[in-house]
Symmetry: C2
Subunit: 425 residues, 2 copies
């Protein structure tokens, strides 16, 4: 890395030594997981570079924005209404952690039997090896799950963490509560940014977020083709980068990649042979740089054609109406996303089963892998209902639970291969 | 057990064979844990008998009430507004599970890495060895934690389970939500019982619940004396029975026991020597028949002088105002308990630290054991903040995590003994 970057990291009070060790592992992992794939779309070059510059060029951009007065907010959930951040020309960064590297440090302040995503995120802050955590003005946490809800109290000791209360049901009273929470966040953002959120500005924010949703939905639709024009790994990487990249540039790049993919589809060209086993993944989010499951599946002869996860369809679900004329109406429209996103944090959450069954049909999946991060109780408990519904619909399903370590790789591979054989037979 | 009881259990569709095995283990455990204690208060005879008749005489009573048209509702949380059940002359039963015996069955439908309390409760229903689960008309679950919230969806397949949404914060919007939830439960109970909840009836219900709270608070105050007039084990047993017994009879018996305890205090008589090490327990609930921690502490030369738990002070915290004249006002009063009970399910939950420090002072505790059931994320994560606050206040604290099995008994005993030695030195 260039000396400019080192100077920037030092100014961000990062632990340079530890950061070197962390970054040092990534190129090899990336090379092995991504670059060895055959017939990758040319449009992936942008995203490969975005990943390479995630701790470099992108941070430079963000710091330049910050110097010019732009607010920088970190988020942890697809329910965080980024539209409000965009409305004040703020920079929004999705900050979940997907690396085993920082888990042991997270465990210094959190119980070991807690979701690795939360422990990794906490570890990134404590280890001071995440430039985003160092650059944010504040964080927007939420009460989606017990682990996150209680972790914000500790994280708040290290970086200001504002907590939104996400309701646990989807009734009228919940919509009212959530609408109030969005109003309160609006005030917080206006206060922090020093900019008023007018209807015009919020309309721009909504359009920006929707455009990104539309581009990702288009990408996911391209994956329905057989042969599939892009690997699951590449699609996952794009989804992961959506949380970090400049939204307008990202949207343009996804759309340009989709042009290429749609050409491939027209030509019948893909990254696998036609008829290769097609897998839908459903479950917990897969934060950067978590690629383990996708890599195991796609080096076993199958391809992943969709993710019903927070780093998949749930991220771009819930398009917000664009015709709200007043801030009041727009906040109501933002609140309505609550009903459109079917996360296991809600009870009941029956529509998630419908989402999965529809995705199985649309993406012509031969089987579903239900993936839970270890100790994730909402997705862990809900797994039984989803598994049964899939079985009743005649869809083969494999339940896997894992963490960020490499210890279970051989065991996972065996189970995945057995599942693929079962599907093929 | 008498043939009458067997016939009753058969009519409740219980698994008689398994139930025999379960009940068979209890007298020995009870004898060892309770009856060997020295100088027990005479008033414990009522509670010993209440435990012995928990699956017998008490069920007979409940079924007689049911035959006479009384509604029977099961609850799982100190936030369940039992006052509404009392208002329709209904029978309210606290249904948490505290036995390893039913955990393996619970694990057939729930993840293994879930709180044993939830798995045990689910197992009691699936195993059909809990006459209360068999006798209830419906259950009132709540969204206090992820594990319970998602488990109700499965439990509802076996017995109707109504779910209240407990807010996750304590702001004005949360009070509004909770007030609405109480109104909705009121309608549900009116519908199920066929009786209208009038202001007069609800006033009686509030008085009945408050009287029980007052009696338990009086019992807990008696434990502040040195020497302590009642063991922690006996106090815990009483708290556990509060969830099952007829509230008016129970209240009278607790008050009568308190008369005896206050006489003891006046005479300077106790169950331990004056100056014996005094321990406050804080953390997760201890449902019947979980006595492991108390037994280990009290057979190591110390005595437990209070529990800041849901089967302790949190159960009787939040006395409800009795001067509400309309149902509207009374529901508001009921909703206000939200702010008075400091459960780790809320964020933030700073007042719990104040509660613990006050209890340490009042009960003259020499040390605190922070006890979490395994995989309880709210209390697990919050432990760090409480531990630090106690350390800052100079109060020795021991953190323990355990489940319902006997596997860790030797290890726990070693740690408890080391802690008591440290306190003594």
């Amino acid at each position: 890395m260039s000396d400019t970057y080192r100077e920037m990291w030092r100014e961000l009070d990062m632990d340079l030594e530890k950061h070197d060790v962390f970054l040092g592992t990534l190129p090899v992992a990336f090379g092995e997981v991504f670059l060895r794939q055959e017939n990758r779309p040319a449009g992936m070059a942008y995203f490969d570079n975005a990943l390479a510059e995630a701790h470099g060029g992108r941070i430079q951009e963000i710091l330049a924005g910050k110097k010019a007065g732009r607010m920088v907010a970190g988020t942890f959930c697809v329910f965080a209404p980024e539209e409000l951040i965009f409305a004040v020309d703020g920079i929004s960064i999705g900050l979940c952690g997907g690396a085993q590297f920082t888990v042991p440090t997270g465990e210094q302040v959190l119980p070991r039997n807690l979701c690795p995503l939360i422990k990794s995120a906490m570890g990134f802050k404590l280890d001071r090896i995440c430039p985003y955590f160092q650059a944010v003005d504040f964080l927007i946490g939420e009460t989606t799950c017990d682990g996150k809800k209680k972790t914000w109290e500790i994280l708040n000791e290290y970086v200001p963490t504002y907590v939104m209360e996400l309701p646990q049901k989807k009734g009228a009273a919940d919509l009212t509560l959530w609408e109030g929470e969005i109003h309160r966040l609006k005030e917080e953002i206006e206060h922090r940014s020093g900019r008023e959120i007018t209807a015009d500005r919020l309309a721009s924010g909504i359009k920006m977020a929707n455009a990104r949703r539309d581009a990702l939905a288009r990408l996911y639709r391209a994956r329905w083709a057989d042969p599939v024009p892009i690997s699951g790994k590449d699609a996952l990487l794009i989804s992961q980068l959506a949380f970090f990249d400049d939204p307008e540039r990202f949207t343009a790049q996804v759309n340009s990649l989709c042009d290429e993919l749609e050409d491939r589809i027209a030509r019948g060209e893909g990254v696998t042979r036609k008829g290769a086993p097609r897998i839908l993944v459903t479950g917990t989010p897969m934060a950067l740089p978590y690629w383990k499951l996708h890599h195991l599946v796609e080096t076993s002869g199958a391809v992943i054609v969709g993710e019903e996860t927070c780093t998949g369809t749930r991220y771009f679900a819930g398009r917000v109406a664009e015709d709200g004329r007043t801030v009041e109406d727009q906040v109501k429209d933002l609140a309505r996303r609550l009903t459109a996103i079917n996360c296991a944090c809600f009870t009941p959450n029956k529509d998630r089963v419908e989402d999965i069954l529809r995705l199985v049909r649309d993406a012509r999946a031969d089987g579903v892998i239900y993936f839970s991060l270890q100790f994730c109780q909402p997705f862990g408990v809900e797994g039984r209902l989803v598994e049964r519904a899939l079985q009743e619909a005649g869809v083969p399903v494999l339940r896997l639970e894992s963490d960020y370590s490499e210890e279970d790789v051989a065991q996972l591979k065996t189970r995945i291969e057995a599942f693929l054989e079962m599907i093929a037979s």
